[in-house]
């Protein structure tokens, strides 16, 4: 255990996890509404959403912070995981849709008579869970293989990923793709036969998201503290040197790129039943850029930073889009500029700076940032 994190960090992780995954759900379920300690479903849904975002930020940190590959299409993998699970949710509606048909409403509306072949497995939860992993994973693997093999790097890679998610968005907007066009999927009723809007189900999804975030953190930490993690940072700093040492960096990049896509896809699958809708706007280029901003604001190459960044930026977004909806994008842009100029290492860098100023040794923070527990 201490191979991954120092004991103090483990305690902090467990404290945060206990609060998020145990205390809040209990206050939601066990304390009656109206009581001052009651946590409303609004907060459970909001934080559940944030935890899904946090996993995507974590995935972003693996590929951008550690490996130096700036993906501006990470939202695509998130959305694909979401769509894969959304198909199952659509089938779970059964005959309770507006048209009382066996087919999902949008298909009735399009006058389709039967399910397209790629919807065949959507009734099965097992198949759906497989698809949640396989769809983003396969796309990332194939796309990554060709992109990395052609040695596409830096800003070119960012632009291509951006184009990829944009193209996917346009495709999903089309009604005849069979994914509900611009309305996407919504009006979900059940998961595994149980009502989706019940407090118990909501709490279960929330707790699952929390556990998933915790697991993703440990897996990411395991990856970056392994020798492979040191190879990834070496790819970021000096890729050609590493190739010269005999590492076929293509496969290392492909590994971390696919891992990040799968992590994001699963997060998307947990996200969709909590927010109750998935549509092509999740694939919009702006969404993917926001993911990069979460990571940058929190502090790249720290794992904790991007999680923090996802919570902080989305917290600000939730407040801002209610208070000053028209100014949110300006604020986001400003935030990005300021962080880049003043806090190149994000909130984590700021915290470290404050600690050193207070005279505490920076050693541990450094340990967390980069290191690789000494093998």
């Amino acid at each position: 255990m201490t191979r991954f994190f120092p004991l103090r960090v483990w305690s902090a992780i467990f404290a945060a996890a206990a609060l998020l995954i145990v205390v809040l759900p209990l206050l939601h379920l066990a304390v009656p509404p109206g009581h001052p300690l009651h946590v409303s479903s609004f907060w459970i849904t909001l934080l559940g959403k944030f935890m899904c975002y946090a996993v995507v930020a974590l995935a972003m940190d693996l590929i951008w912070g550690y490996t130096g590959i700036l993906s501006l299409g990470q939202g695509l993998f998130f959305a694909l995981g979401g769509y894969a699970f959304g198909m199952y949710l659509m089938r779970q509606i059964g005959r309770d849709g507006v048209y009382k048909s066996d087919l999902p409403d949008f298909m009735v509306f399009l006058d389709w008579k039967e399910l397209p072949w790629y919807w065949a497995g959507a009734d099965s939860l097992t198949w759906t869970l497989f698809l949640v992993v396989a769809a983003p994973g396969l796309l990332a693997f194939v796309f990554g293989f060709f992109a990395f093999r052609s040695r596409i790097k830096g800003v070119y890679f960012s632009i291509i990923t951006q184009a990829l998610t944009f193209a996917a968005m346009l495709a999903f907007f089309r009604n005849d793709m069979g994914f509900g066009g611009n309305n996407g999927f919504t009006d979900f009723k059940r998961i595994a036969g149980l009502p989706i809007t019940s407090p118990e189900m909501r709490t279960a999804l929330y707790v699952l998201s929390g556990l998933y975030l915790l697991a993703a953190l440990v897996v990411a930490r395991w990856v970056v503290t392994s020798k492979l993690g040191r190879v990834l940072t070496a790819i970021r700093d000096q890729e050609s040197r590493l190739m010269f040492l005999g590492y076929r960096t293509l496969y290392f990049k492909l590994f971390v790129w696919t891992l990040a896509a799968v992590m994001s896809g699963i997060a998307g699958a947990l996200y969709v039943p909590q927010v109750g809708i998935i549509n092509p706007s999740e694939m919009s280029p702006a969404n993917s850029i926001e993911i990069a901003i979460w990571a940058a604001v929190g502090g790249r190459g720290t794992l904790f930073g991007p999680i923090l960044g996802a919570f902080a930026v989305n917290g600000a977004k939730s407040w801002f889009t209610v208070a000053y909806p028209e100014y949110w994008l300006y604020f986001l842009g400003l935030l990005f500029v300021l962080v880049t100029l003043l806090l190149p290492r994000g909130l984590m860098g700021l915290a470290e700076k404050l600690r050193t100023r207070r005279g505490e040794p920076a050693a541990e923070a450094r340990e967390l940032r980069l290191r690789a527990v000494k093998p």
Binding site: V223, S226, K227, L228, R230, V231, T233, A234, D237, Q238, R241, L242, M243, F244, L245, G246, Y247, R248, Y251, F252, F255, L370, A372, K374, P375
Partner: protein, 275 residues
């Protein structure tokens, strides 16, 4: 099995008793030199960087290559390491590996280690991690993810740290080392790869006199156990380590022989040593 036994890579028949076990992953020097370049020509936009260059390095040899700027020294290194493909000529590593065909990473894996002119260590990694990354191991993804250092590997790193005078500095970030120390770390990164052939491109460029002297000691320590090719401008340094010197000029070999022999060669004096 075919009834005509075939020696790997040669495609010719092998008579009974003349065969020897050939490991397809090891360089085969049982019948000749470790490096064999013949009639290599490389041109860039009509300019011949290498012009019918021929060079033979024996196993265990320490060879210095000198020559004025633009003589083709670096291009020659690029051909040997697969970075540049020659337009003509043959380049063999041992008897079996055709350097004009193999990809760069494969050549590195087979045991040609190169130290670049400019030190390119991983600055955000510690000295220890630099050596760990460079070490000769299975460098595919899964073994790397699950890698743990064995006792023998730790010993190798400890020995190397001693050779390159960085004992006690293993936890320092490589970016914080002095220029000379970075050069040594580079050499250390070559040594842990246990290469068959070491190419050193200007190993003492920018070093202090003391650092240069130590580098000479270090290289002489390696002589015999390793085959080494040193490209260098610094004639004092070459004088300290040279056994056999090859002088390049305009992409081909101008002279070859002992240091004094070469220094006495009139054409060499004319084009390079001057006066």
């Amino acid at each position: 099995m075919s009834d005509r036994p075939v020696i790997h890579g040669l495609g010719g028949p092998a008579g009974a008793g003349y065969g020897h076990p050939v490991d397809p992953d090891r360089v085969d020097t049982s019948h000749g030199p470790i490096l064999y370049l013949d009639d290599i020509t490389v041109s860039f936009d009509g300019f011949k960087a290498l012009n019918k260059l021929s060079l033979v390095i024996d196993r265990g040899e320490l060879r210095c290559i000198i020559g004025p700027n633009g003589a083709g020294k670096t291009t020659m290194m690029d051909v040997i390491t697969g970075k540049t493909r020659p337009d003509e000529g043959t380049a063999f590593f041992g008897q079996t590996f055709d350097l004009t065909r193999l990809p760069e990473t494969e050549i590195a894996r087979l045991g040609i280690g190169r130290k670049f002119q400019k030190p390119t260590v991983f600055e955000n990694h510690t000295v220890f991690e630099n050596l760990e990354l460079a070490m000769k191991t299975d460098k595919r993804v899964k073994p790397t993810l699950l890698a743990r250092l064995s006792g023998a590997q730790r010993d190798l790193i400890a020995r190397t740290l001693k050779t390159i005078r960085l004992e006690g500095a293993e936890d320092r970030l490589a970016g914080a080392l002095s220029h000379g120390q970075k050069q040594w770390l580079e050499i250390g990164m070559l040594l842990v790869q246990e290469p068959e052939l070491i190419l050193l491109d200007e190993p003492v460029a920018g070093m202090t006199d003391a650092e240069t002297a130590h580098t000479a000691e270090l290289i002489l320590e390696l002589e015999g156990t390793h085959s080494i090719v040193v490209v260098e401008h610094d004639m004092d340094f070459v004088g300290q380590i040279a056994r056999k010197v090859t002088v390049l000029h305009e992409g081909s070999v101008l002279a070859e022989g002992g240091m004094q022999q070469v220094q006495a060669n009139e054409r060499v004096i004319e084009v390079y040593l001057g006066r």
